[in-house]
C-alpha cells in the first residue's frame, strides 16, 4: 500500500469512528470532544490533499471557534455527572433508518459519478490569489458574499451588545 492511501484510510477511519461516537455518546461534553476530533481529522484530510489554506481555515473556524463556543455553552449549562436520558427504541430505529437512507443516497450518487484522475500536480494556492479573489467583483470574485457576511457579522455583534448591555432602569 502506498503511504498516501494509508494516510487516507487512517484519516477516514478516524472521521467515521468519531462521528459515530459523537452521536452515540450520552455525555454531552464528551460528544463535543469527539466532534472536535472529527473536525480536526477533516482538516487532516485537507492537509492530505495539500490544500493547506482550507485546512487552516477548518481548524481556526471549527476547532478553534465553533467547538470552543459549544464547549463554553456546555460549561455554563451542565454538570459533570449529567447524562442525557436514553432515547426510546422507536426513535433510535427511525433515526438509524433515516441516517442509513441518507448514507445510501449519498454513496450511490457518488458512485454514479465517473471520477477521472488528472496527472497535474497539486499546486499550492497562493495567499495573494485568495486575497485578491475575495475582494474581486469581476469574474471569479467573491466580493458580494464577503460583504454580505460582513453585514451579517455586524448585525450579530450589535445584537450581542444589545443583549449583554445593562438596562438603565435596573
Amino acid at each position: 500500500m502506498e503511504i498516501n492511501e494509508l494516510m487516507f484510510v487512517i484519516i477516514g477511519a478516524v472521521i467515521i469512528l468519531f462521528s459515530i461516537f459523537t452521536v452515540t455518546s450520552r455525555r454531552i461534553l464528551r460528544a463535543a470532544a469527539f466532534l472536535l476530533f472529527v473536525l480536526v481529522a477533516t482538516a487532516g484530510l485537507y492537509f492530505w490533499l495539500e490544500y493547506q489554506f482550507l485546512a487552516a481555515v477548518q481548524i481556526t473556524l471549527y476547532a478553534g471557534g465553533i467547538v470552543v463556543l459549544i464547549i463554553f455553552s456546555i460549561l455554563l449549562t451542565s454538570n459533570v455527572g449529567e447524562k442525557i436520558d436514553k432515547v426510546e427504541t422507536k426513535k433510535v430505529i427511525f433515526s438509524a433508518l433515516a441516517a442509513i437512507a441518507g448514507a445510501i443516497l449519498c454513496i450511490t450518487t457518488i458512485l454514479q459519478q465517473q471520477f477521472q484522475a488528472t496527472d497535474a500536480l497539486a499546486q499550492e494556492v497562493n495567499m495573494k490569489v485568495i486575497g485578491k479573489s475575495l475582494l474581486n467583483y469581476g469574474e471569479n470574485g467573491y466580493a458580494l458574499p464577503f460583504e454580505v457576511i460582513s453585514v451579517l457579522l455586524l448585525a450579530a455583534m450589535v445584537a450581542a451588545i444589545v443583549i449583554a448591555k445593562k438596562s438603565k432602569t435596573s
Binding site: 502506498e2 470532544a33 489554506f53 481548524i59 476547532a63 470552543v68 460549561l75 454538570n79 455527572g81
Partner: protein, 362 residues
Amino acid sequence: MAFSIYDLTSFNQWVDKGLNSVMSPLWATITEMAIIGVVFLLFYAVVGLFLVYAERKICGFIQCRVGPNRVGPYGIFQTIADFIKLLMKELVPINKADKFLFNLAPFIIIIASMMALAAIPFAKGIHAIDFNIGIFYILAVSSMGVIGILLAGWSSNNKYSLIGAMRSGAQIVSYELSVGLSILTACIMFGSLQLSTIVESQADCWLIFRGHLPAFIAFLIYMIAATAETNRGPFDLAEAESELTAGFHTEYSGIKFAFFFLAEYMNMFLVASIAATIFWGGWMPLHIGHWTGFNMVMDFIPPAVWYLGKTAVIIWLMMWFKWTFPRLRIDQLLTLEWKYLLPINLLNILVMALVVLMGWHF
C-alpha cells in the same frame, strides 16, 4: 559531502538519500517521520526543563534571592530532580470527575503546541513544515490549546477549576484577536505568510527596524497579547494561585500536572519564537545596509545561535514582565484588550498599510 552549520539543507538531503538507498520509499518516509518526531519531543523536553530553571533563577534574581542552588553547580540539575519527583508521584484519581476528558485534556494542550512548533524555522534547513500559509497555520493550531484548558476545568468537577477555565476561555479568545491583528500588521510588510519567505525578506534589515513606528507598536501589542495568550503573569488569572488555588489544573497531580506545566513553558517558547521570527528576523543575522565587514562578522555566527539568542531575549523580557507587574482583575484584563489594544491595533494596520503603500520604509 561537506556540511556546514550555516546551511543544513545538504545534511537533510544526505539523510534522505541515505535512508532511501537502504529501504523502500514507504519505510524511508515513516523512518523520517519518526526521526523528526523524536527530535521534536527531545527538543520539547529539553526546552521545558531549561525554561523552568531559567524562570526560577530569573525570579530569584528579580526578588533578590539566590534561586535553586543545591542540586549541581548553580542548581542546574534542580529541574531534572523535580521532573523525576513528578514522574514518581501518585496520580490521584478523582472520584466524580469525567475520567476520559480529564485524561484527554493535557494531551490536547500538548498536541496544539507541538503542532505549532513544527512550523517554526529554527535555522536554514531546519524547518519541519514550510507551508504557504505558515503563520496562519500556527495561529490556527495554537488556538486549539484553549479547548484543553476548558475541558480540564470542566471535567475536574471542581468550582475553582471551572472558574479558572472560564476566565482563561474569555481571556484567550479575546487576546487571540490582538495576536492575529498584530501579526497581520507585520505581514502587510512581507506580503507573504510563508515563514521561510518572511525570514529571507529580512536579510537586509529586521522588520522592527524596517517598519519604523507601526512595526514597533505591532511588536509591543504582540508581546502583551501573547503573554496573555500563554496565561502568564500578569495575566495568569486562569491559575491565580492566591484566588483559585491553581485554576484549571487544581485536580491534576504527578505527570499530568507536569504536562500542563511543560505546555505552559512550551507555549511561552512558541510565542517568543514567533515574535523573534516575525519581528526580529528569525535566524537571519543582523545586517546593516552596506556595512559589508560588519555583515560578514555577523554572518559568522551560526543561524541557530541567532535564533535561540533572539528567542531567549524575548523569553527573558516575558519573565521580567511577569515578575514585575501585579496580576490584573478580569474586568481590567478585558478592558485592556477591547478598549485599548484592539482600536490601537486597527489604527496601526492602517498606518502600516500607508507606510507600505507610500514606500516609507527601508
